[in-house]
Symmetry: C2
């Protein structure tokens, strides 16, 4: 019996979820796969759950938080890169003209992320990311970025782990960036964080071995790459997956195509008052094809406005 469910009148482990079909679908699934002797029973080692990060575990507006980090790093690095003053998209970031940066789409953002996430050791990058996360506040809410995580999802992560699941993050976000906060914030250790990554070079610096972050991309962990990356890192098919956008569709398809009980869930951003509301049209976090498929296949779709009693821990 999982430890969290043993005390008599235990508090609701999903207290921030309003009662209803969404919450029930989670509880029902967990009950089925953990019931010893039941026809849907799944051995603990096969209880793999994979979570997207941006828009699923924390907010992604007004732009990916890692992009905010990259912007700040760019400014900090600018004195060593005089050429950036006359080269887009760097020029526009330095001039504070973000709308012009975003007009360049994902390629422009990727260029900024790569330029600010390479040319240093993994150890140096970790310090930069941790320091930034501890000190920097969200541009509109003025909260720390690590405070802008979804309380119901924190409860869900803990609930699954208490029921023998191993929880993984499988996100398009940078693997080293996410590892800088995932253990403290989500309880997900570094070896269970999977993300986009650049190539690393093993070399000696002053006689000490280091891993230097190169500009070459190793993998973009999004869309149809998610199942491939899951196979490479985990080697088992998840029985439950959680996302919020079309970039998660392949992961949910891969998860639900396995034999036995499966669970797929999408977080639908429907609460403009407490968080943000968007789905089919935006360039970031678009939820269109995946929403259609979720409806057609009966996957769980979280209506943030109605299903979540509380969105952020600070509320």
């Amino acid at each position: 019996m999982p430890e969290s469910s043993s005390p008599g009148a235990a508090a609701d482990p999903l207290a921030s979820w309003n009662e209803g079909t969404t919450k029930n679908s989670i509880i029902d699934f967990v009950a089925r796969v953990t019931k010893a002797g039941g026809e849907d029973y799944v051995a603990p080692e096969e209880r793999i759950a994979t979570f997207d990060n941006d828009g699923t575990l924390w907010s992604e507006r007004p732009y990916y938080f890692q992009v905010a980090f990259a912007f700040d790093q760019m400014k900090a690095m600018a004195s060593r890169h005089p050429e950036w003053k006359e080269k887009e998209p760097f020029e526009s970031v330095l001039a504070g003209d973000l709308s012009r940066v975003f007009a360049g789409g994902l390629p422009a953002l990727a260029e900024i992320v790569i330029a600010t996430h390479s040319g240093m050791t993994t150890g140096e990058f970790e310090v930069l990311a941790r320091d930034w996360l501890e000190a920097t506040r969200h541009p509109t809410t003025n909260k720390l970025f690590t405070e802008m995580v979804f309380q119901p999802m924190l409860e869900l992560l803990a609930y699954l782990r208490a029921n023998g699941f191993k929880t993984f993050i499988v996100s398009g976000g940078g693997i080293e960036f996410m590892r800088a906060f995932a253990e403290a914030t989500y309880g997900v250790p570094p070896e269970q964080v999977i993300g986009s990554s650049g190539k690393l070079k093993f070399e000696f610096r002053d006689g000490e071995p280091v891993l230097t972050k190169l500009v070459e991309i190793e993998i973009i962990d999004d869309n149809v790459m998610k199942p491939a990356v899951i196979q490479n890192h985990i080697g088992r098919r998840p029985i439950a997956s959680f996302g919020n956008s079309d970039g998660d569709l392949a992961m949910l398809q891969w998860t639900t195509a396995g034999k036995g009980a499966r669970f797929a869930m999408l977080v639908h951003h429907t609460d403009a008052a407490r968080e943000w509301a968007y789905d089919r049209t935006p360039s970031i976090g678009q939820l269109d094809r995946a929403l259609d498929e979720a409806i057609a296949k009966g996957w769980t779709v979280v209506d943030m406005k109605n299903d979540w009693r509380r969105i952020f821990p600070f509320e």
Copy 2:
């Protein structure tokens, strides 16, 4: 307290290791990093141990066991590849002229491995590997390949886990091939097996999503790539690493360069009677530079002949 050490007069968890400095170096290290309040104490989540596979956990003679698998797969696939009859290195394998195949060195072997490990789904490959491992016997010992694992290393894996370590395999062997037996044989689950890998393609076959194994190489997990792959998959630096060849040197350098107590060990194949004896000269499993560095730095070097009471479980 780890469960295995709790009974009063418990059996020696490292019973196949002869008493002496090698065995003591292991026990001393584990005692130091697990002693609460001690100056070398390491929190359980940081107790990461990485193991090479070929030559470290099981034998690698007369050639890598995965190469034996590839040879057999080639023969099984040959009818669908008439061109192999007139193309090296395939021609020599089909003709049974292995000395000519090995004359082609690692590039020839790699070509055979890639040709036999692609063009199928991950699920299909897993079945092929499992079936082969269950049915095929070693060319000289006539044992199953999974019986040719080193009993002292099985005990070491269990001993470390009983002391709160998380044990990973980090090997040049194929990641999917090793996962077909690592959990049953070593107690290492798929998500803790890291190896060389090919690219995977997510696609639909008869309406079902599959991951198809492509011929393109994703990563060769050997030599200076081992620290990079460790960082990518685990995201923590190991505190203990175990290898047997120059291909493990970078992993051991990376491990021991970390702060605090560190442990590095090489298995030196010195027992021609019970296993094989080789070190500085062979093309497979060469132990030359790493042996020099181990001696210079005081790493633990296992003398198989003298340090291991028993080598294989079947003895």
